[in-house]
Symmetry: C2
Subunit: 111 residues, 2 copies
């Protein structure tokens, strides 16, 4: 994978940090995740997301939004809400979500 | 690993989201990371951190701080600054850092 860190976004913007514990490949997870990835891309004000997961350990997904309206539009999306409910019932051992307003950001890229 | 997602922090607090690309196990990285983990724990107002890394892919570390003063104390820590400089020279292909003020958070834990 050669995905580069998202950079160059102009503050202010919002991050939703989602940290979770779940089994490695629960039934139906990959399909739902793919559907949600496609769906969030059509939310006005969605700026991107990135995800990392230590095998057997913690997963962290960060989604970037222009403003709280965009973030809330995604939070209240019916397909997304149904997936979260299914996830609580079947996939996740635990998760946390932290919604923050980004005031500063910077990046580095090797030349 | 059975690390649980950090939860229950009372807003407002700050997150520093650090996303990076680097080789799997660059020389000296593990030792420096261990030193920094121990060192950040003594910063007043440091609330915790969590980290995930997809093998061969993106790493995401999120550090939680009570306020910007705590975050800046860590940002300007001499050992931390030297490690960042070394990382830019030797370890990282690219990274981004997003500093945000958390206004809402919530969590879930299976009973």
């Amino acid at each position: 994978m050669t995905q580069k860190p998202i950079s160059g976004l102009e503050p202010p913007y919002y991050t939703a940090v989602f940290t979770s514990l779940r089994p490695d490949a629960p039934e139906g997870y990959a399909e739902t995740a793919a559907e949600l990835r496609e769906r969030v891309g059509s939310v006005p004000g969605f700026l991107g997301y990135e995800s990392a997961r230590t095998p057997g350990g913690l997963g962290i997904t960060v989604a970037y939004f222009r403003d709280l309206e965009a973030l809330d539009a995604w939070r209240l999306d019916a397909t997304h809400m149904a997936a979260k409910e299914h996830g609580r019932a079947h996939w996740y051992e635990a998760y946390s979500c932290h919604i923050g307003k980004v005031e500063r950001s910077y990046g580095f890229e090797r030349e």
